[in-house]
Symmetry: C2
Subunit: 225 residues, 2 copies
């Protein structure tokens, strides 16, 4: 998942989608003052509002341009705590064990095409969380009832090589920009319970994609076992 192979490292910052809103359940697991890590923070759409509420936020992303935009945005706001944005690979986080009270992955795992990397990322999140602390995860669900997605899952399979994944195209060039994975409930649950978490909250939700399509979504809170 180095910079050379990861399409997210070199995507234009403004083209990084981030349409999924934080679910309010997060405030049952985190209080202002607590230490939050936002993995795949992009341009800071989650980190900055949380910092403005008094959370101590660190945001990591692989995309340097997005991090620069995030830093600029947060500088222009009057946050009681300015979030710290760091370029990092989610499979190898530059933080000590048991550092954070809450890790957030907001529509981030969808961008990770390797199953092994997904496992590594969840284990890394577990490692940097304090004992009994929480992982908040919101992501896309496979949406078979939609004819549009059903056809994309099937038609894109020869390229994505994973059921439930789709190709996303660059709007300007028309070229493949990245692969997005939509999860099944089973996939997401075993990813967590197999890598250090138990499920404490699980909600089937509906999200809107960057194109305005309605898609199944999950909001999950895992507790570090």
């Amino acid at each position: 998942m180095g910079e050379h192979t990861n399409p997210w490292a070199n995507l234009k910052g403004k083209n990084i989608p981030s349409n999924v809103e934080l679910d309010h359940v997060i405030y049952q697991y985190a209080r202002p003052g607590c230490h939050v890590l936002d993995i795949g923070c992009g341009t800071g759409k989650v980190s900055i509002p949380l910092a403005s509420q008094g959370f101590l936020v660190k945001g990591v992303d692989i995309n340097a341009e997005a991090l620069m935009m995030a830093t600029c945005s947060s500088g222009s706001q009057k946050c009681p705590q300015v979030p710290l944005f760091v370029q990092a690979d989610a499979t190898h986080l530059p933080f000590s064990d048991s550092t954070f009270d809450l890790v957030i992955m907001q529509a981030f795992l969808t961008t990770v095409t390797s199953k092994d990397d997904r496992t590594r990322i969840i284990r890394e999140a577990c490692r940097v969380l304090k004992p009994q602390a929480h992982l908040y995860l919101a992501d896309f669900g496979q949406t078979w009832h939609s004819k549009i997605y059903r056809e994309r899952y099937i038609n894109d399979l020869p390229v994505t090589r994973e059921e439930g994944s789709i190709l996303a195209y660059d709007r300007e060039t028309g070229e493949i920009a990245y692969i997005a994975h939509h999860f099944t409930e089973k996939e997401l649950v075993f990813l967590l319970v197999g890598n250090g978490f138990e499920i404490e909250f699980f909600k089937r939700d509906g999200f809107v994609t960057r194109n305005g399509n309605l898609v199944n979504g999950f909001v999950v809170v895992g507790g570090k076992v």
Copy 2:
């Protein structure tokens, strides 16, 4: 699926579970006066209220005792139309092609353990529906986030031989009473779109089982293509 092999044929009528409520979306697809078939009607919990609203209802079930209870219940109520209850196998319905305006399967497919029978049943429903008429289907979804169901899916697999199926026990004798299948969205969608329907409505819902457990559910309306 003859009487000798189908556990539902000889189950005590009062032990037939029916906890799932009709979703109001059904009234967008059916008006009083229209001809409704309730497949797997059990003791009439769906058929009787619909008849009391003026629908022309036929209910079929494999269980004779349940049908007798249904007939008694409907006789004791003042329905403008009395539903007609008929013992039949859903894979071979005793009705002509293009008879009904609406077919209902309310937590019925969950009881059908054979994939081939599920296909036959959906095709039969399609056959007895008028052109462009609708199938309303509500059923249980695989609920992997629940530790209880996750363990049942895994532990019961050697007996059920189908992922997402569970064993249900007789409360008095403790013996296996039947197998219940919980569907994935993909399974349910392809069962319909592969057998004469297109998806016109799809809702991810939550149901309560006979034991009071919360479980994922789907409410689906298919239009006869």
